[in-house]
């Protein structure tokens, strides 16, 4: 675990952003920034020094899948871990996200344990790469 990691949490519902922020804090990650859709997240990602992106899918403006594609298409951001945290649960959507290069996918409603497991797994995979 690297407590100095910078997280960006993207969700159009402010309640969900606060929930994720609190959970990350409890998991030992205090550095969390929020954005309410892909359009606000992308400039933050390009300008900031983020290590991990957690994004919803269904958002007004730029949805999470498009944000993921933009991140993967940007040479400087391409390798950033992206965890999709969403209520979108159709098989083809999960496949589509995987094909777009998502690092992990958590379905809402979720548990703190699931969130921790996925983050740990993504970070372990990156450390091993």
């Amino acid at each position: 675990m690297q407590p100095n990691m910078n997280f960006l949490v993207v969700d159009d519902f402010s309640t969900m952003r606060r929930i994720i922020k609190n959970l990350l804090h409890d998991l030992g990650y205090p550095n969390v920034t929020e954005a309410d859709d892909g359009n606000t997240a992308l400039p933050l990602l390009k300008a900031g020094n983020f290590d991990f992106l957690i994004t919803d899918w269904n958002m007004p403006g730029m949805p999470g899948l498009e944000l993921l594609k933009q991140v993967r298409a940007d040479a400087r951001l391409a390798k950033m871990p992206v965890l999709m945290l969403t209520a979108e649960a159709k098989r083809e959507q999960i496949v589509e996200a995987a094909q777009a290069g998502v690092s992990g996918y958590v379905i809402k409603p979720f548990t703190a344990v699931t969130l921790k497991e996925k983050i740990d797994k993504i970070l372990a995979a990156r450390a091993a790469a």
């Binding site: 309640t15 969900m16 929930i19 409890d26």
Partner: protein, 207 residues
């Protein structure tokens, strides 16, 4: 090959049929024009439904944020209690002349454990607020449908040449059933805004 020409008899029957359909269509349009229920639906009930749904999202959003506020306040209190109970127990173990009564020691051990349960439960309360996101997404979907319905009804009324009707006042026929909570943007006539208003109103009425 040229199309077969209808016989005079068939032509006459066709004309009669077209007249019948035209007459039915005219009758349907006439009926449509005077259907005030449809006008009320398009001009009042459907827009009200959208306001109601938006208000549900706002209410659940406020309630969820209030709950998260309290969780964020209680979490550090529980953490500090666990920490301080642990420190007192450690002092008992190491410091000279700081022996604690057995009951106090047991209480401190129990306090530490209980507060850890409280902390875990607070995390569950926090997660449960995710309902606001899930229900909000569903409600937004329904609001989109309501928008489309409102647009379609408006077009129908426009085609039928229906005249807008004034919105009814507070004394609606179905008022006896009650209107539910007040919803900003949905006019049910004059209303109170909080308990003080209620008390003042009752006081003015001599109660």
């Amino acid at each position: 090959m040229p199309a077969a020409m209808p016989t005079p008899d068939a032509h006459s029957q066709l004309t009669l049929e077209v007249r019948r359909v035209a007459s039915e269509l005219q009758s349907a349009l006439d009926h449509f024009r005077v259907d005030s229920k449809l006008i009320d639906l398009a001009q009042r009930q459907v827009p009200d439904a959208r306001h109601r749904l938006a208000h549900v999202i706002r209410l659940t959003d406020d309630a969820a944020h209030r709950t998260i506020d309290l969780v964020e306040q209680c979490g550090p209190l529980a953490d500090r209690t666990v920490q301080e109970a642990g420190e007192l127990l450690a002092q008992r173990a190491t410091g000279p002349g700081t022996a604690l009564a057995p009951q106090v020691s047991a209480f401190l051990v129990r306090t530490g454990k209980n507060m850890q349960s409280v902390r875990a439960n607070l995390a569950e309360v926090l997660l449960a607020q995710g309902y606001q996101d899930l229900t909000g997404q569903i409600i937004r979907g329904v609001m989109t449908l309501v928008d489309e319905l409102e647009h379609a009804l408006g077009e129908l009324l426009r085609i039928a040449g229906a005249e807008p009707e004034p919105r009814p006042g507070s004394a609606t026929a179905d008022g006896w059933r009650g209107h539910g909570p007040m919803i900003p943007g949905v006019d049910h006539g004059p209303a109170v805004s909080d308990q003080q208003d209620v008390d003042a109103l009752l006081s003015n009425l001599g109660m």
